[in-house]
Symmetry: D2
Subunit: 237 residues, 4 copies
């Protein structure tokens, strides 16, 4: 649980590891407590916080319905699921997440020579990934943000709604080999890629990492089609 004591401890741990951190006062970001900011070797700024105003999701805490009626409006994901970032020094990033921040490595794709990780999927709970990184020469890039869907049928419905609204689709509906989750990727009007995602393994911290060899990355990305779609290999911002 992320309380203020944990935030302080993580700040101290990051500094002890050799990273420079910065405290940003509560309130500087709307409805958010004090933040600890640091930069990853991949060029991404990460911020940790322990306090956030709870606004709920429309489901009451007493005798809750299984879903909020608002779910029926549009694609209606359950929540933000994860993000995939592109940048250099993935090995160093992995060390910070696993040795300081308490994540574990769920899956990885090897580089062509098999000596390093081309991409890593990290979890700090039991979701198949909370954050993922892919090695990329330019620092600080975003590949996509991902939203959690209810079921494979809801992923299909998301694709219907994208098409009805002329939202440009990247790949999917399909299943990933990596994570075994099911997916559609599309672009929002500002050019950012987003994912409607469901499923995936149910990992535990002591699970052994699953490894994809580079020659099988196509199957890892699109399990039925087994190919690296060209559009998917681009970053968005």
């Amino acid at each position: 649980m992320l309380d203020t004591a944990t935030l302080d401890k993580l700040d101290a741990d990051l500094q002890a590891y050799g990273l420079k951190t910065e405290r940003i006062p509560a309130g500087e970001m709307l409805a958010t407590g004090e933040r600890v900011r640091f930069e990853l070797p991949s060029g991404h700024l990460i911020e940790l916080f322990a306090e956030k105003t709870k606004v709920g999701n429309g489901i009451p805490l007493i005798n809750p319905a299984p879903w909020a009626k608002a779910r029926d409006n549009g694609i209606a994901p359950i929540r933000l699921d994860h993000t995939l970032l592109y940048g250099p020094n993935v090995a160093a990033v992995q060390k910070i997440f696993t040795e300081v921040l308490g994540f574990y490595l769920v899956e990885r794709v090897l580089t062509p020579d098999g000596n390093a990780n081309a991409a890593i999927w990290l979890s700090c709970g039991q979701k198949v990934h909370d954050i993922a990184f892919a090695e990329y020469p330019e620092p600080g890039k975003l590949h996509h943000c991902s939203f959690l869907m209810e079921s494979w049928e809801h992923v299909l419905r998301a694709g219907d709604i994208m098409s009805m609204n002329a939202v440009p689709v990247d790949i999917g509906p399909t299943r990933h080999g990596v994570t075994r989750g099911c997916t559609i990727y599309a672009w929002d009007p500002s050019g950012n890629r987003f994912e409607t995602f469901m499923g995936g393994h149910l990992p535990y911290p002591d699970y052994e990492t699953m490894t994809w060899t580079f020659d099988n990355f196509g199957q890892g990305l699109d399990y039925p089609q087994r190919k690296l779609h060209e559009t998917f290999l681009t970053v968005v911002s």
Copy 2:
């Protein structure tokens, strides 16, 4: 119902329409009664028959289970669903199916100038199509045979099994705009394309035909992705 009297009547109707028919004796094809054969203006040979040895599907007629245990083996479609044929003279083919054989036109894609049908989907019952034709210069070509799946989840499972067995996939999983059915296309080892298909509208003979303009054919083929995949436009044999 196709009994021998109906077979004789269809034979007479086809001849009255001006088509040459041929009778092929019972037994010439395994477990099949007498056949009436004729050639379509698209170059395809069609055969009608009224008798076939029933072998069942593993579900008994007394206190039937909802599915046969054999369904669990592999992709396990419920039944053959339809076929899509490519050839010339689609307008003439449509007349034969609708005026002589009792089919009705469920959906169609227009030619770019909007003056003719580039592709037609025909039903003789309440399946969204029993047979379909696309205009193509070469006569007598097959695009695909399609197998009926239980659900969208079974289509995903079919894609998993294709990938596990290195079966080359053409397109999907996705939803068609035309028919609104869900699909994966793949190739069998002899090079023929097959489809694992589910869903679709529930049409009646007095439904009005649904029409796709040519510029929207991409959406008609792949509803979320809205594109005409190049591989899909090839015939197989």
Copy 3:
């Protein structure tokens, strides 16, 4: 197809069979053409018509979307699917539907002695039933009207919405052995039972009738639970 000529023919056929028919002028029922009315030996009045003003379902005929946005409101069935009626003389009713009206018998439940049908499921197309009858001493009773749902997941969602709105539920969600369709039964505010139904076999007129023995009727009604729920055995009006 039900055009005026067919309506006239069915009227003549019913009379030739020995049933008294009555013609009700066009317009007497809103948006409906002339009707042919007759009474079944079960005490139900049946009306046939060939003309009805088409109001559409929100999906356009040109470049149709796979579903109308209105589908997202509430339970949102696709269409009326079938009805189950209770009354005497089911054997005589079956003869009228199969010998005069062009239906065929898809499934049946035998009486305890196995000598007659306690209940029959009749189709005039490829839906697993368009109308069904159960033997019952009182004439002219309704058991339920059924609405077609998109999927098993939509049946679950229907149950959620019933519970959110305090709609009294009879049985389900479950699968029927008979028809293999999936279902929830509930009561509307006027006390009529309705069903949210999906799935079922895809029958053809030449399929052999499937038969349930009376001792297995519990499995026929509720396949997983294998019991005749007491509330379900009541008629509603």
Copy 4:
């Protein structure tokens, strides 16, 4: 992560809390390391261990398929999901799990007077429950063990297989209000109840506990039907 150091710490923490613990040597249970055993105030013996021989689930660690072919045999759950235990002193049990063992309270049902918890659902990760307890006068009772299913469609299929094999079913298929998971309960040949379960919220340790009032327990158990099925209220051993 449960390593030997964690096991030692939990043992010390349990003792510090005032519970008597017992060490059972490695190997006493097949393929299992040293265990720490203690008794709950509910009368249940709990054992913790840090080492277990990994036998895998048929999915390889290199280029893993999304599921093992063995999944197609029978009901084929993904894994053991949770258990529900019945016994006295649920409040004391809750304290041990939340204050010593690192669990958090996800959901609860209140007693009729609203002053205590009649039942509690506890998680030590992001599953909606890893263990649950219901207040019951007799100590040390088991209500059910639960197995994780892939989807709502797999729950239906489990019910089909139960019926095909004459497995006695308790309740379901249905959705729980509590946890919002979907379920069938059945009895194995030795008389123990088991559950085939899927879905549920995705909780975090800092989520606020969801509360069910006693008068709504029927909806909490069976969301569509809103009733406490009598058979369900029995313990099994």
